[in-house]
């Protein structure tokens, strides 16, 4: 079964984000008003081949986040797992994975 895992890594709340601040300033320079805050993170896509269920795939990817993809001191992560549309499998909807933002937010406070 072909899975697509989508990982979003964001700076933890309360951690200074110099990149976000720089982008916010640049948007203001471009004339956009009313932007209260900008935080810049990373988006990672993983395509996996495994017979495991969606829940197991999610756990595996969350493990990858804890071990490499996110730095728990300054980052938190969200994981979404769905059948890989590129592999010809019908998109989520009836599937167990779902495309809604998940409860798998990682990075509990140290």
């Amino acid at each position: 079964m072909a899975w697509l895992a989508k990982v979003i890594v964001m700076p933890r709340p309360g951690v200074l984000d110099p990149q976000g601040q720089a982008v916010r300033g640049a948007l203001a320079t471009l004339g956009y008003a009313g932007i209260r805050d900008v935080r810049v993170g990373k988006y990672v896509e993983l395509r996996l081949d495994t017979e495991a269920e969606a829940g197991t795939v999610r756990e595996q990817v969350e493990d990858m986040c804890r071990r490499l993809l996110a730095n728990p001191v300054i980052e938190e992560f969200r994981v979404v797992v769905e059948p890989d549309p590129a592999s010809g499998v019908p998109a989520a909807g009836a599937g167990t994975a779902g495309a809604a933002p998940a409860a798998g937010t990682g990075g509990s406070r140290p």
Partner: protein, 231 residues
């Protein structure tokens, strides 16, 4: 003292470290390829500066998961001396051998310049030859030197004397204007609880000869020679 300079793909201050230790200080020194796992012939391991793995994902993140880092962890656990310089400091943080994390410099600029640091803790193998409060003029070259530790971790670090160097004015005053990257509490270098693993953003190995603009780095490098920890 037998030194090993670890080389990761993208390290670029390995030659400087080798030169400072071997040619300038006359010490036995060899390179350690990042896939090696046998460090038994060494007394001190250097993780040099550079852009290991292009700083991909996070600076030092991928290097920290190299095979050699397991060996460095065991080496440190057995009491061996480890010094991480710049990217090496980032790698030690990512490997969990030192507390905290690095963020982009507050002004988002790459700072390549001389700075001054104050020796906060002269009772380490890396600062034995220094006085408390001594000011060293050292070179920095980094875009991610903004050291961060969560408040509790920082408090613990401060209380046990874990902050070894702080950015300061030439007169030794720890002020915000002397901080090139926004690091919390002007932290420039920290040491682990056991006192044998040091991480610092400035480059002592690039400041070991007057012709390069400062030889103050020798205070740190020669401190290592002044006495071995029990190993």
């Amino acid at each position: 003292m037998r030194f090993g300079v670890v080389v990761f793909p993208g390290s670029n201050c390995d030659l400087d470290a080798h030169h400072a230790l071997g040619a300038v200080l006359g010490q036995p020194v060899r390179y350690v390829w990042h896939r090696e796992t046998d460090l038994h012939d060494l007394d001190c391991v250097i993780l040099p500066g550079g852009f290991s793995y292009g700083d991909y994902l996070r600076a030092g993140a991928i290097a920290a998961r190299s095979p050699v880092m397991d060996a460095v962890g065991r080496f440190a656990e057995a009491g061996g001396l480890v010094i991480g310089i710049c990217n090496g400091f980032q790698i030690l943080l990512e490997a969990g051998l030192l507390p905290g994390a690095m963020q982009p410099n507050a002004d988002l600029l790459f700072h390549c310049e001389f700075v001054h640091v104050r020796v906060e803790n002269p009772a380490t193998p890396f600062t034995r030859l220094c006085r408390s409060g001594q000011v060293l003029r050292l070179a920095i070259a980094h875009a991610e030197g903004n050291y961060y530790a969560p408040p509790e971790a920082l408090q613990g670090l401060e209380e046990r004397g874990g902050v070894v160097f702080r950015y300061c004015t030439p007169e030794g005053e720890v002020l915000p204007e002397a901080n090139p990257n926004g690091s919390v509490a002007n932290v420039a270098g920290v040491i682990n609880e056991a006192g044998n693993v040091l991480g610092m953003m400035p480059h002592p190995e690039r400041c070991a000869e007057e012709v390069l603009g400062s030889a103050d780095g020798r205070f740190i490098l020669e401190s290592l020679l002044a006495g071995r920890t029990g190993r």
